[in-house]
């Protein structure tokens, strides 16, 4: 539907990048969030940003809520179910105890997220105790096993869809690392065995079970007690499992949120290093602009979707055509025909691989060597064993020697040179901020770079350059307006937030559209601190001098309107030279130049477009002659 829309307003030229580049997500994701609602989830608290205590249950809810909001914007075809276990009430198709599926009207348990789901889920805290309730579902002496039940319910929901086309996941939030700790002897062994068997059955069906453990610094979540077996961790993987207990609650939330996203591989590529040595890489799109979804045309009478139909006509004869595979370009007055195949043949100048050409010092990578968002590369030993080892060795050498790789990436849409920049892993407060790997930066060709600097070079000699004094003042100002903890992407996109706030309000038929906070506006308060103001004044004085007049007056008139006003004044002056009435009466208007005629028109606020005759007749009309 999207590519059929000729009026798609959001897709301006700039965004028109090859499909291949913007990953096509062939598979959809079906996820069940399993949230432990046992009293323990409510009793463990940690102070949050504002210093207030927040329970682990709150943390899980807030992660899910954020993830739902991201999902409805980015991946609205994915389906999701929210399932609490260790609950007092029960609600599920199997009628199992201690399991409660949360849902809203007009929606299956496992379905795409809707505006209503997001809204009601945000309010769940208020009604939770009353409607769902928290209760231990695994108590010694009883045969009840709420964890088992939850896995069963989730697995039943995930029966939907084929594993071939869908990625199925259970995400389990809990702070209990030893759910059967209170059991002893044979009953314990039995409970554990049946639960693990349940989980294994699910995994055998292609469902991945992921654990999102909530821990505290003083009591770390011990995954090897029970859950390692449940989620199927073995040997080395166990060592790699990150227990995730941040110093601060916010850090833990961050880590959990990151883990909730399934890593999607954009492509698998071969990286040819030299002389036939080639390793295997996966590429990931970590940064891509999020744009509002496409428009669908509706019938304004019924509000039902319309189907766009495209038809082709011959411009010469008007005959209806099939879609043509021939393209034309006028060249030297001839119509040159090229088939679609020939066009792709022209672009095929290399195999689809990434081929290393050599290394350069990082200083060779300039700030203007950029065209598109970068792509992340991470090695894989899935098909070629040894890929990871070689990648890590080269990665370390590149970091040590401060070099980047130059390679040719032979994609079919735009084969081009890329820079491979090694990124060291960065961990802050126990959480990964930058993953280790390489970033592939798309380099421009000389055809893509413009010599703007030359354009306005001063042909008579030298351009002014700041003095040391001026630079010192600028440096002082810089120190004053320093964003110490600035992190890229700390701002939400206000246009997008507004877009979805409006849609959400309309979708829920609310009258008021909530105000969104534009986080990108400068900190006026900070700027008006005396220290900042003082250094601003000093800097201004040093570069602009004493007698500098603000070019835009205090009225802050917009440039264009000010210009227009000035032009009108000038025109009035100019036009006053002539006696227009007399000229008109004697038919002498035609003897004036167009510029002179325009003065009259401008002075009287009339349109100035058109040929001379049109101008004259407009003047005559205006004079009433």
């Amino acid at each position: 539907m999207m590519d059929l829309d000729p009026d798609d307003i959001f897709r301006d030229e700039d965004d028109d990048l090859g499909n291949e580049f913007y990953e096509k997500e062939a598979t959809k994701e079906l996820a069940v969030y399993l949230v432990d609602a046992s009293p323990k989830m409510f009793s463990s608290t940690s102070p949050n940003e504002d210093g207030k205590d927040e329970t682990h249950f709150d943390v899980a809810l807030s992660c899910i809520s954020q993830s739902l909001k991201t999902q409805i914007i980015n991946r609205s075809y994915d389906e999701v179910a929210i399932c609490f276990f260790n609950t007092r009430e029960k609600k599920n198709l199997q009628d199992l105890n201690g399991v409660y599926l949360f849902n809203v009207a007009d929606r299956d348990y496992l379905d795409r997220p809707t505006a209503r789901l997001i809204k009601e889920f945000d309010l769940i805290e208020e009604s939770f105790t009353k409607e769902i309730g928290s209760k231990y579902g695994i108590v010694s002496g009883s045969r009840e096993n709420s964890l088992y039940n939850a896995l069963w319910v989730a697995q039943a929901l995930l029966r939907k869809g084929s594993v071939k086309t869908a990625c199925k996941r259970m995400l389990l939030f809990t702070n209990e690392d030893d759910p059967f700790g209170s059991f002893k002897g044979a009953s314990k062994i039995d409970m554990i065995r049946t639960t693990l068997q349940r989980a294994k059955d699910a995994r055998d069906l292609g469902i991945s079970i992921e654990l999102l453990p909530l821990g505290r610094p003083e009591e770390e979540f011990n995954v090897s007690l029970f859950y390692a077996d449940l989620i199927g961790l073995e040997g080395d993987e166990l060592a790699q499992f990150i227990p995730s207990a941040g110093e601060k609650l916010e850090d833990m939330k961050d880590q959990l949120r990151k883990r909730m996203f399934k890593k999607r591989i954009v492509r698998k590529i071969n990286f040819l290093i030299a002389n036939g040595l080639s390793i295997e890489l996966n590429t990931y799109a970590l940064i891509r602009p999020t744009v509002p979804g496409a428009i669908t045309w509706l019938d304004s009478v019924t509000n039902r979707a319309l189907k766009a139909e495209r038809s082709f006509f011959c411009a010469d004869t008007g005959a209806l055509l099939q879609e043509s595979t021939k393209r034309i370009q006028i060249y030297k007055n001839e119509t040159i025909k090229l088939s679609v195949d020939e066009l792709s043949e022209i672009k095929r100048i290399s195999t689809g691989n990434l081929r290393l050409l050599g290394f350069k010092p990082l200083s060779c990578l300039k700030d203007y060597h950029n065209l598109r968002p970068s792509t992340f590369l991470f090695p894989s030993d899935e098909d070629i064993i040894g890929s990871t080892r070689l990648f890590i060795a080269v990665h370390r050498s590149m970091l040590r020697l401060k070099r980047f790789g130059v390679a040719f990436y032979g994609s079919s849409s735009r084969p081009q040179l890329v820079a491979l920049v090694a990124q060291e892993e960065i961990i802050i407060a126990g959480g990964q901020v930058e993953p280790p790997g390489m970033h592939m930066i798309y380099l421009p060709y000389s055809d893509d770079i413009r010599d703007i600097e030359e354009l306005h070079s001063d042909s008579n000699g030298t351009a002014p350059c700041a003095t040391d004094e001026q630079i010192k003042n600028a440096a002082a100002l810089m120190k004053r307006i320093d964003l110490k903890d600035f992190s890229v992407c700390q701002f939400a996109n206000p246009a997008l937030q507004r877009h979805y706030a409006v849609l959400q309000a309309l979708a829920l038929e609310e009258d008021e559209i909530p105000d969104i906070n534009d986080e990108t506006v400068p900190d006026e308060e900070g700027m008006s601190r005396p220290g900042v103001v003082k250094s601003l004044e000093e800097f201004k004085l040093s570069v602009y001098g004493e007698n500098y007049q603000e070019e835009n007056g205090p009225g802050k008139a917009v440039d264009a309107s000010k210009k227009r006003k000035a032009a009108a004044e000038l025109a009035a002056k100019e036009s006053a030279i002539h006696d227009w009435g007399e000229l008109a009466d004697n038919g002498k208007l035609k003897d004036l130049t167009v510029a002179q005629l325009k003065c009259y028109l401008t002075a009287h606020n009339l349109p100035v477009a058109g040929k001379k005759e049109a101008l004259i007749s407009r003047i005559l009309t205006h004079m009433g002659k």
Partner: protein, 685 residues
Amino acid sequence: MARNKEALLLLIDVGPSMHNVLPEIERVCSTLIEKKLIYSKYDEVGVILFGTQDTKNELTKEVGGYEHVMVLRNIGVVDGNVLEVLQPLPRGTFPGDFLDAIIVGMDMLIKKYGPTNMGKKRLCLITNAQCPTKDPYEGTKEDQVTIIADQMTAQAMKMESIVVRGRIGAEANEKIMDENDRLLNIFSKRTRAKLVHVESPISLLGALKTRNINPVTIFRGDLEVSPKMKIKIWVYKKTTEEKIPTLKKYSDRAPPTDKFATHEVKVDYQYKRVEDPNKFVPPEQRIKGYRYGPQVVPISSAEWDAVKFKPEKSVKLLGFTDAENIMRHYYMKDVNIFIPEPGNTRAILAVSALARAMKEANKVAIVRCVWRQGQGSVVVGVLTPNISGRENIPDSFYFNVLPFAEDVREFQFPSFSNFPDSWLPTEQQQEAADNFVRMFDLAPPGKEEALPPDLTPNPVLERFYRCLEVKWNNPDAAVPPLDETLRKITESDPELLSHNESVLDEFRRAFELKENFKQLLREKPSGSNGGEDCAMIHVQSANRDTNEATSSIKIEKVGDITPIQDFEAMISRRDGPNWVDKAITEMKNKIFYLVEDSYDGDNYPKAAECLVAIRKACILEQEPKQFNDFLRHLCKFCKEKNLRSFNEFLAAKELTLISKSEAPDSEVTEDEARSFVVKSEPMLE
């Protein structure tokens, strides 16, 4: 006449020392002309050669001198003739004097245009500047060049000089070169002239701007440091992707007699109700629907305008931060440049002071931009200082767009340090990698950086425009192969490889790569190929050379490392009817891949071995046609793809079609089979 038409004079040195680079000069000038024929048909072009045997210019007639400067084509509207005179360029016999050529060129431009066409007159000099210039009648050479440069400024002419040096330059007298460089530098200091030194054929192809685009500002106004301190700036695009033009769809319906037929296709959109496909909905009855999850929310344009985000046009500073806070891979789009308002000394000083202070302290500035009034979104980006290297160019900033929170996907990846030891390099491997990274160097000190983006042309564009020219001559011609010089952009430099052979060999020996057979056994659900998430299945180490192993592990794919063994194992599988076909198909693909991916024939022996294997199998399995068709196809493919050397290689190996005597089903006679390779390659004798 188009308002923006440009008058361009190419001044090309064809003296003896230039002969080895003339093919590249022909190439780049042709591309320039081909692009002009499409994008700026009204531009005017002239060509002057110097260092020629003959002399042909007006100045020599009028005042004498100016020998060996030949006007190959007078200034005139660009047409196909220019391409013809450029290819091939006549080879000259005298050392060329570039100053003579510049003066002849200026004289032509002045005579033709006088004071008109201000700023649209361009001289483009291509030389190695190795030959001495003549002494002037009075004053020094420097004085003379200064006068010429000032005259150029007065006439608002631009000049680009491309100086061919280094590896591809010829042996020359250093003193003369230094003098010439000094003279050429006077031009860039005193007038709007650009000087580029190139040392490789690729850079030569990239040094000349083949498309003349009039840059337009995307913003003019204030950079608001604070509400009380503003700097007047202009913003331009610094990089933007140049693409193949969008071609129109072709319609063959117009009668051949119709000379004015456009042959274009018009596209029409109609909207129908889904439930009633016969009913069209008129445009005024349509309303836009916006998706929100599964819901589509109808909103009219007027309503939308009333509620949408409407920021004011402005560029505001948010603050400064350490450069290392903004990592390179966060740059989102093509790049803009902020220059101080031209001629505004205060703005130039303010930008200069900030840029230099930022450079010194290694800081960057974060800004919030709304380029146009009425634009529905804001961008947050980073300004990095661009300190000018030339005294007549003011300092400026580069601007890169940064991502918003919604644009970042925070995937977690395992730490390398958590990987098992078998995945981590040993000390010896690390050393081999260090040496490799150090020696495989594209920017060795003292030499020209190889493949700098600023001097590396887009090979696809060059191929496209050449293809148009080829098709213009012959509409049925095939797409021409990629230019040999440009192919070097896509492959590693053989010189660099051979220089570092020992380092490369050591590196290769240090790392052993194996195909992962275990992985091939598992039927993977297509959606869950998440690299390291996949649990490894522990199978006993598979020794693939023994029959035992091959039978226990069922091969389903022809891999890269042992294709022949894989193929044989597959074709001998008897657990399904399709394995033979599948094996043959896979092997064919593998052979194609090997041949195509071959560098200097390094894969040919392997490809030939594979061919032998598939040939043998096709005889055994009574599938001669499969092989014969394939071999014919492969040879044809190689011929078209300029891989003739592979056919020669096959002929030498005496690999032929399968004849009747080998397989009764074959339709190929023995003679035919024997002569096959020879016949398909008549150049062989």
